[in-house]
């Protein structure tokens, strides 16, 4: 991405893949990111990995944040990473949050998920991480 001009505003897709209908966490993080100056595209509930990747391309986001509370993170998160790579968009990074057991975090990162934020993480920590990770895309 080094040849790309640096954008003025970072754009983040907050997605809710899978079947759970609990989007409080997604909305809290979307709100916190907006208040930190990000443009947040919110997908709504029940998205498939294909839908989220398609949205990410149309919206030209820097990253996709996935909120999953259904337990399907081990399937859905790596699938989105894989689909992004298949579209030649592997530079769009994926991070996640929700109910993710400690033991799953290592394998998810190995599968290409950049960061996992578990319940209780202060939103300031997420914001700081994203600012740096987004800026790094244009170094």
């Amino acid at each position: 991405m080094s040849q790309e001009p640096k954008p003025r505003t970072y754009r983040v897709l907050i997605g809710k893949p899978g079947l759970d209908g609990h989007d409080r966490g997604a909305k809290v993080i979307a709100r916190a990111l907006r208040d930190a100056g990000f443009e947040v595209i919110y997908s709504g509930l029940h998205q498939t990995p294909e839908m989220l990747v398609r949205i990410a391309l149309q919206e030209d986001v820097d990253c996709i944040g996935l909120s999953i509370l259904s337990g399907a993170h081990n399937t859905l998160m790596p699938e989105i990473v894989r689909l992004l790579e298949a579209e030649g968009a592997g530079d769009i990074f994926v991070f996640g949050g929700g109910i993710i057991p400690e033991n799953d975090i290592g394998p998810l990162k190995e599968a290409g998920v950049r960061a996992i934020f578990t319940p209780g993480t202060p939103t300031t920590e997420v914001i700081e991480y994203l600012r740096e990770a987004c800026a790094n895309r244009y170094q």
């Binding site: 001009p5 954008p7 003025r8 505003t9 754009r11 979307a30 709100r31 990111l33 907006r34 208040d35 930190a36 100056g37 990000f38 443009e39 947040v40 595209i41 919110y42 997908s43 709504g44 029940h46 998205q47 498939t48 294909e50 839908m51 398609r54 949205i55 391309l57 149309q58 919206e59 030209d60 579209e87 030649g88 968009a89």
Partner: protein, 317 residues
């Protein structure tokens, strides 16, 4: 990469189009060359503006319209505008939530845009984003404005057909009149028309439209329609009315006039921004600080100071 961004966009590459839209939104110098290369390929799409009060169901209506247009074989681009927070500069763009069913359809391209401080219901970048979708070959491009409702007139100069969406229960007919929406509508839609007061609103709007002196031979009479977008009711009729308006524009040479207005408006926007850029630059100079001192000492007057500033910013570079 062997191909240019423009070539990839004309070839239908979604990511390249998404990227250029971002350059446009960020006002990056890189966008200019690409937009210039795309311009000869624009002018084919039919542009529909959807505006109206916050919460009136614009996104849901757009979603239903897209479904009907797709069923008739047309490809559709959507530019959906949401407000930027004046406090942080950030935004939550949520119009897509109501348009999920079209995410996987390759004949639909939806782009969410933040106003970034621009007034008038659309972003500064919206006209150029519409051009990108137009050049990609989408048959219809729908522009959904931010839900402001009063004085939202930028869309008028951009779209071929302007739909104004309202809902029952927002106040009396005087509200509608003063909102300035009466003047801009080519089609009125009363959405959520299963709610109390829909028929009264319908009568009031029709009466108000009839009160305005209108030459039926040269002026379009805006129809007032009822829809329940979430249940897909009234959308067929809406589409028929859009088509009727399109035919009317063509028959009266008005489509051509809207093209001219649009082109002029686009150039005006570029010039206004360049001037505003130069003005800001001039106001940051030390020359200006001394003029300001002179103004405060009353040895200079504002009009002469303005003339000097104008001459300075209009100097060729």
């Amino acid at each position: 990469m062997n191909t240019t961004l423009t070539e990839r966009i004309l070839g239908g590459d979604v990511r390249s189009a998404g990227r250029l839209m971002r350059w446009v939104d960020d006002d990056l110098p890189e966008a200019r060359h690409e937009l210039a290369a795309l311009y000869p390929h624009t002018g084919r799409a039919y542009l529909v503006g959807v505006t109206g009060n916050p919460g009136s169901g614009k996104s849901t209506l757009v979603n239903a319209l897209v479904a009907h247009l797709r069923a008739s074989g047309k490809t559709v681009g959507v530019v959906a505008v949401d407000p930027t927070s004046p406090f942080s500069g950030g935004a939550i763009l949520g119009d897509r939530v109501r348009m999920q069913q079209h995410s996987l359809d390759r004949g639909v391209f939806i782009r969410s845009v933040a106003t970034r401080g621009n007034l008038g219901g659309i972003s500064r970048s919206t006209p150029a984003m519409v051009q990108v979708l137009d050049a990609m070959g989408f048959d219809v491009v729908i522009i959904e404005t931010v839900g402001v409702g009063q004085d939202e007139v930028d869309i008028v100069r951009l779209a071929d057909t302007n739909i104004v969406v309202t809902v029952p229960g927002l106040g009396d007919d005087v509200q509608a009149e003063k909102a300035g929406l009466m003047e801009i509508a080519d089609i009125f839609v009363i959405n959520k028309s299963d709610q109390t007061g829909a028929d009264r609103l319908l009568r009031e709007l029709r009466t108000m439209l009839h009160l305005r002196p209108r030459d039926a031979a040269t002026e379009w009479t805006p129809p007032v329609l009822k829809t329940i977008a979430v249940r897909d009711e009234g959308i067929d009729t809406l589409l028929t009315n859009i088509e009727a308006h399109t035919s009317w524009l063509s028959a009266h040479g008005a489509r051509h006039q809207r093209d001219r207005t649009r082109a002029q408006q686009f150039v005006r926007l570029i010039v206004t921004e360049a001037l505003s850029h130069r003005l800001n630059h001039a106001l940051a100079s030390s020359d200006w600080q001394s003029t300001l001192d002179a103004l405060l000492a009353r040895t200079q007057n504002p009009h002469d100071a303005a003339d000097a500033l104008l001459n300075a910013i209009l100097e060729p570079r």
